[in-house]
């Protein structure tokens, strides 16, 4: 006997994400989902970003890591509200799901927040599949990785609204072709803005900050 099911397996997360989107809209909070592979410099990029946008944009950060609170400690030093989600102390989930974001976001005083940044778990595969109620996605790629990463992980780059090419201060010491990397990103997602920055040296931040502020202010009106 065949039983027809016709069901999307990730439907529960999709529904939760849609509900969260409405919740954040009511609260007037812009949500940015930041993703990358491990070690691309997400946290340093965010630390320097927070230093520039606060207090004009009141920001809170949810940091996803399988283990440790090291990233949260660094982000806290900027004065932003930071909460850490550890998916498992001994090697747990590889992504953040919508239900985790909801319970964590409620720990913040959302009336006093304009921007909620979710620093997702370092992984270019799994987080791409899981919407978390975000308004935009930013993917960070560093020049110490391969130029072909966007072609190897196309879903991540296809679904992103902006891309950051980080660690450009290291280019003189590498054989990394930064134009090729940007072209590969644009093959997968032709209209995406790509920002070349060095987080540690704070180079190239202006266009990225301008994009972020424009996105946030287009949604919120506090």
């Amino acid at each position: 006997m065949e039983i027809n099911i016709q069901k999307r397996v990730l439907e529960a997360n999709e529904n939760e994400s849609e509900r969260l989107k409405k919740f954040f809209k009511e609260k007037n909070v812009f949500v940015l989902n930041v993703m990358s592979s491990p070690g691309s410099g997400k946290t340093e990029t965010l630390v320097k970003t927070l230093n520039r946008i606060m207090p004009k944009i009141r920001t809170a950060v949810i940091v996803g890591d399988i283990c440790t609170t090291n990233d949260a400690d660094r982000l806290q030093s900027t004065g932003a509200d930071v909460t850490q989600i550890n998916t498992d102390k001994f090697g747990g989930d590889c992504h953040l799901a919508a239900h985790l974001i909801e319970s964590t976001a409620k720990e913040f005083d959302l009336e006093r927040i304009d921007l909620l940044i979710v620093e997702n778990i370092g992984n270019l595969v799994c987080p791409a599949e899981f919407d978390i109620g975000e308004d935009a996605r930013t993917v960070v790629l560093s020049v110490t990785e391969g130029e072909d990463k966007p072609l190897k992980y196309p879903l991540m780059f296809r679904l992103a609204h902006s891309a950051i090419l980080n660690k450009i201060d290291l280019l003189p010491y590498l054989e990394f072709d930064v134009d090729e990397a940007e072209n590969n990103i644009k093959e997968v997602n032709p209209n995406i803005p790509v920002f070349r920055i060095s987080a540690t040296k704070e180079q190239g931040f202006d266009p990225w900050i301008e994009w972020l502020e424009k996105m946030v202010f287009s949604k919120i009106s506090k």
Binding site: M1, I5, Q6, R8, V9, C126, P190
Partner: protein, 115 residues
């Protein structure tokens, strides 16, 4: 690595779909549709599925996976084509305002119970 979570979800949905009142139900086959653009590694999913189904009516279920191609529609010239490489530009008009018609599925189609 999220294949374990997907396998658990698949089994949960399948178990909930077995009609009540069937004595010792046994699922012979499960038909899935997985898009080529979904971040699912088939081998990992099969491996995880094999672990999750132990001691359930799906313990001996054959997993049949249909791979769904990535079909794209160009909103500028209405051309539709199948994408093999992850390059998203209309081959007809070079437009970039595109809509993905299929390729992201992670769907359960049906299960087949033993008579």
């Amino acid at each position: 690595m999220h294949e374990l979570g997907i396998a658990e979800k698949i089994v949960e949905i399948a178990l909930a779909s077995i009609p009540e009142g069937i004595e010792n139900p046994k699922v012979e086959r499960m038909n899935l549709r997985i898009g080529k653009f979904a971040s699912v590694v088939e081998d990992s999913l099969r491996f995880c599925f094999g672990i999750v189904v132990k001691d359930t009516p799906l313990a001996e279920t054959e997993l049949i996976i249909e791979n769904v191609p990535v079909l794209v529609h160009c909103n500028k010239c209405n051309f539709e084509w199948e994408v093999d490489d992850p390059i998203f530009k209309c081959p007809e008009c070079h437009g970039t305002d595109l809509e993905m018609l299929s390729g992201r599925e992670i769907d359960i189609d049906s299960i087949e119970l033993a008579d």
